[in-house]
Symmetry: C2
Subunit: 224 residues, 2 copies
């Protein structure tokens, strides 16, 4: 039994990787960097996107694909903040988005008017780590209301991510979270992680985050 | 392909249900109520258990099985607080505990000295909802640092649970969380959910939680 499950699973994953390669090619052809946002439920993916849309939605031409197990609450929240396109995907029980869902969602977006794509994954620190969606990079959000050792307990996600965003840092005076220890745990699992520290409530740290996104859309020309 | 996956999955789930029935019978025979604690990562399962062990560990004879994807950090945290037995299960990538793991963990516990069992599941609001572990009831923890609409977005978990514990209520003055709306969302999904509101940091609300656990271990005699 165990062997057979793995076989089937491997074929499903292989098919997903093919579809993800197609999505990546499609986005690359359109010149659109895409970030796959992953985190625990409630770490603040939607709140960070709301602030990002307010500041940079039009400037960078941001489009968004949001995934939820049930409801399209996150898509509705974002759509209230922007005239830009937000495409909802309801996974209907699945604990992650897959490349086929993203590929289909792209059909509904105006890629010619898109300069930057966010894919807001299902809130889950396990499943989305294994599913390539054709993104340029995974960005893992990590709330200071969680334990500092989350990266050690969910190492695959923190290894798969290229960036980590500490969220809700306005709560640091009220929670028993040691930011330095949180940083150390993240870098222990993935020494090349680039870290951000943000509060969507107070705006602290968002300028660095915005500067990073501007650079992702308009890379500095290579001198020479 | 899709059909075949479902078939295999159904057989795996059916086998789990058989094993869970065995665990339930085993616990029932030993007179041990068992609660399966589920939540997002970082919602405070371990912190609530620490406080519960401090207050009731010896009085009620609490034993604990903790599940983590990687590390046995939670088990180590709990073991520092108690001489009582804490059995760690590392799922090695899986997003939930299963009944076989609990069955094996029970072998390592002193059931004769156990009056109440907690099973601390993997931090995940999707997968653990589908896996019966032989528990008497699932208890879902729901931190006020998450959005009030978590029950709507993860309805299966809130439907499978018989109890919901709002955690970190000491943070209410600092977070944009409307407790009344949180209660409404939870009860909309599951009208018979029994709610608790707690802070493991300040101790607020713990007396009600402790009283509930005492009643679970020593039910009032039926009058007659």
């Amino acid at each position: 039994m165990a062997v057979r499950i793995i076989e089937v699973r491997e074929r499903v994953m292989a098919r997903n990787d093919e579809l993800a390669a197609g999505v990546r090619e499609r986005l690359h052809g359109a010149g659109i960097p895409a970030f796959n946002l992953v985190s625990s439920p409630g770490a603040g993916k939607t709140a960070l996107l709301e602030r990002t849309l307010d500041a940079l939605g039009d400037e960078l031409g941001i489009s968004i694909v949001t995934g939820d197990v049930q409801t399209q609450n996150d898509a509705d929240r974002l759509a209230r903040r922007t005239e830009r396109l937000v495409q909802a995907v309801v996974t209907g029980g699945a604990c992650h988005l897959d490349a086929r869902q993203v590929d289909t969602a792209l059909d509904a977006l105006d890629l010619a008017a898109t300069g930057l794509l966010f894919i807001e994954n299902v809130g889950n620190l396990v499943c989305p780590a294994s599913w390539d969606l054709g993104e340029e990079a995974k960005i893992v959000l990590f709330s200071v209301t969680e334990g500092e050792d989350k990266p050690l307990k969910y190492p695959k996600m923190f290894r798969e991510a290229r960036y980590a965003v500490f969220t809700k840092i306005d709560l640091l005076p009220h929670v028993p979270f040691d930011l330095e220890r949180g940083r150390r745990c993240a870098l222990e699992v993935n020494p090349t992680l680039q870290l951000f520290e943000t509060s969507a409530l107070t705006g602290e740290g968002l300028e660095e985050w915005f500067a990073f996104l501007r650079r992702a859309v308009h890379p500095a020309p290579v001198p020479g």
